[in-house]
């Protein structure tokens, strides 16, 4: 080969390597710290290695709230990323900002990326879907509340199986206490588990407009009888020690870890963490209890967690990358791996089936409870999800009022009435900004 040829090869390879470097960069802001953050980096790296046109660049932006506020500040300064992870409470805010978001179904259509919303688990995607069935954001990490119970303590009290209904919760708790337990059960994320999911599980609406899905003029209804009765009995039980409140969010977990309480209600994604924290204790997972005076066959529960939103203001090349990345994320292998590694729900049926086929659920008992709880029935308007503006403030209000109830400062009815009144003020405020 002559020198001329050689240099031609060199030039060609230089050009090639140049084109490799000129991958279209797509920023993805996320809120996944710790081991999950490493997993996020792995997913992005695998995607980047699998094709040569796009480079997904994950950027950790702090807690959920910090990530969302960063993205909003960035949008106001026209520096927004192409993809941002937003927690479920921010859904209505994002959805309302039509000039900001690029809905997933539209994105997939515009970029000609094959996309069939039928492949997804409706119980998961429903939360992020418009009332006419269009997927707006891509579910990423979703979980749902389940009942965790201490099998060792159950055995000691001579109880065979986990309680299924709230009535059984009471009986079982009494038996447990009689056998030496200090408390029957506790809960985490009280608004999510005891209000939002109490409504979904028993097919009762917590607000008008199909729990806020159909418009901004919704009114809260969780001061109606079923909710009042539920909170009333929890209040009664917290006096007798059957129920013990452990604080906001998941700060009540030590009550379960230290075996003070024999049961707790929490995110299904927390299982591996619980097992690690309670080495040597046999922990079981069961479906969230339902109220058999309200419903015979319980409904599915509502998810929590976060989804990925595409933001406008980038060029079409970048959106092609976003679309491809979303497809990649939805693929059975990636989803199954994510589901198994993190404990979050799979978002497609294929991923669930693949996990089943791989024998994961048999090797890790309890990991499939959440999926079964979500998929055994068709979601109704009351169990599809909730969508409220200023939802973060509303959850604060619910926390605040419920704490007043647990402390015995207010009756259940009074607390819920106040929460509904203050919550509605937040909804009205939000409604006025959505024109």
């Amino acid at each position: 080969m002559s020198i001329k040829h050689l240099s031609a090869v060199a030039v060609a390879s230089a050009l090639l390597s140049h084109s490799v470097q000129a991958k279209t960069e797509v920023e993805w802001w996320h809120a996944m710290g710790g081991a999950l953050g490493q997993k996020v980096n792995e997913i992005a790296a695998d995607f980047n290695a699998g094709q040569s046109e796009y480079e997904i660049k994950p950027v950790y932006k702090g807690s959920y709230a910090e990530t969302m506020t960063s993205a909003i500040a960035a949008f106001r300064a026209k520096q927004q990323p192409a993809i941002v992870q937003v927690f479920e409470v921010g859904t209505a805010t994002m959805m309302g900002a039509k000039q900001v978001i690029y809905p997933v179904h539209e994105l997939m259509e515009d970029t000609k990326e094959p996309f069939d919303s039928g492949h997804y688990l409706s119980a998961v995607t429903g939360y992020y879907t418009t009332s006419d069935g269009k997927m707006v954001s891509m579910p990423f990490n979703s979980s749902t509340p389940v009942l965790y119970y201490n099998k060792d303590m159950f055995k000691k009290a001579g109880i065979e199986s986990a309680p299924k209904t709230w009535k059984e919760m009471e009986q079982v708790s009494k038996q447990l206490i009689a056998s030496g337990a200090q408390c029957g059960f506790s809960t985490t994320w009280q608004s999510w588990t005891q209000i939002e999911n109490f409504g979904a599980r028993n097919n009762v609406a917590m607000a008008s407009n199909n729990n806020g899905f159909d418009g901004f003029d919704s009114e809260f209804q969780f001061n109606r009888e079923p909710f009042v009765k539920h909170i009333e009995r929890l209040q009664k039980w917290s006096e007798s020690g059957i129920f013990k409140y452990g604080g906001r969010q998941s700060s009540g977990m030590p009550l379960f870890y230290t075996q003070e309480c024999a049961m707790t209600m929490g995110s299904s994604a927390g299982l591996s963490g619980i097992q690690e924290s309670m080495a040597g204790v046999d922990v079981g997972v069961a479906e969230l209890p339902y109220d058999d005076t309200l419903i015979m066959k319980p409904q599915n529960t509502i998810i929590g967690g976060a989804s990925l939103w595409a933001l406008r203001g980038h060029d079409s090349e970048q959106y092609k990358g976003v679309a491809q990345f979303f497809s990649y994320l939805s693929s059975a292998e990636v989803q199954a791996d994510w589901h198994q590694f993190t404990g979050y729900l799979p978002i497609t049926t294929e991923a669930y089936e693949l996990t089943q086929k791989e024998g994961f659920y048999d090797q890790n008992p309890g990991t499939d409870i959440a999926v079964l709880q979500m998929t055994s029935v068709e979601p109704t308007a009351n169990s599809k999800g909730v969508r409220f503006g200023n939802f973060l403030q509303v959850r604060d209000i619910i926390n605040q009022e419920l704490e007043a109830v647990w402390a015995g400062n207010k009756s259940a009815k009074q607390g819920l009435d106040d929460a509904v009144r203050l919550g509605n003020q937040q909804l009205r405020r939000f409604e006025r900004t959505q024109k």
């Binding site: 900001v100 604060d396 704490e403 405020r429």
Partner: protein, 293 residues
């Protein structure tokens, strides 16, 4: 304001003050101006729709009984933190000043906690105060106290007060010590010859002489307790249980930065600015006059 002799120069003072002023205007006054503008608006998070609502945000706030409660909570909290942090630090520094051997050791250890990042400090104390696994909880049980900050508002209040105080003691200690060491030793020696003991000398000599520093620390501690403690509250109680630890600034932070209700949060900031402006004028007019220079 009493003041030392004055230099005369037409341009130098402006040159000296210019950098500080420039940064203040760009990064503080301008955003504060924006807050005033926003306080009269109802706006969505992204700034897409904006409606002029006049004083509505303010009226809503003053009709909200929880917001009004926050004033009292803030007062209780700030006074407790400022007083506790100042008193503890003053005591420690007064004793530390007497020590020659091991001084470095003591000082280093008293400053050390200050170096813990605030995010970690909040989590650490939360550990210690946890009703199920906390060490402090165990100790309190000895005294027959059934510690439960998740439901008992007073307990929650003590928890955030202690944590916030803890973060500030080192700071105060450092400045008190610096001030005490600048008190001329000759004064002490003279008084010692007259037969007055260390405590009396501290009260009659050192304390009056360090009053400018004390005034400085008083202002700084109030500002700290008022403004810089929302992160602790956010990490530990989120304003709960009920509404019992929700201070004014925590609410601004929570409604604005976390909850993204910019109008209401801006209105709250404006109320705060007015409040602090009044307090500052009061402090300088009445307290500083009593301080000896």
């Amino acid at each position: 304001m009493s003041s030392p002799v004055i230099f005369k120069n037409r341009y130098l003072p402006y040159a000296l003050i210019a950098p500080q002023l420039l940064i203040t205007i760009v990064f503080f006054i301008l955003p504060a101006g924006q807050a005033i503008f926003q306080s009269a608006q109802l706006e969505d998070a992204f700034g897409l729709s904006r409606e002029f609502v006049g004083l509505e945000n303010f009226i809503n706030l003053f009709n909200d009984s929880y917001y009004l409660e926050s004033f009292f909570t803030t007062l209780k909290f700030s006074v407790s933190v400022a007083v506790l942090a100042l008193v503890c630090a003053l005591i420690l520094s007064a004793f530390a000043e007497h020590i020659v051997r091991g001084a470095t050791f003591y000082r280093t250890f008293l400053i050390w906690p200050y170096a813990v990042a605030p995010v970690v400090a909040g989590s650490l104390w939360l550990f210690l105060f946890d009703p199920s696994i906390g060490v402090v909880t165990d100790m309190l049980e000895w005294f027959g106290i059934n510690w439960n900050p998740t439901l008992n508002g007073d307990h929650a209040m003590w928890m955030v007060i202690i944590t916030s105080t803890w973060k500030q003691i080192s700071y105060n200690f450092l400045f008190f010590l610096a001030a005490l060491q600048s008190v001329p030793k000759s004064l002490h020696e003279a008084a010692a010859i007259d037969g007055s003991g260390p405590i009396k000398r501290f009260i009659t000599i050192s304390f009056p002489l360090i009053s400018p520093t004390s005034f400085f620390l008083l202002v700084i501690n109030f500002v700290y307790a008022f403004f810089d403690t929302f992160a602790v509250i956010h990490a530990m109680t989120q304003g709960g249980p009920g509404n019992s630890t929700s201070t004014l600034v925590y609410k601004v932070y929570n409604d604005g930065f976390i909850g993204l209700d910019l109008g209401s949060s801006a209105a709250q900031s404006v109320i705060l600015m007015v409040l602090v402006a009044l307090l500052t004028v009061f402090q300088f007019k009445y307290v500083e006059k009593k301080v000896a220079y």
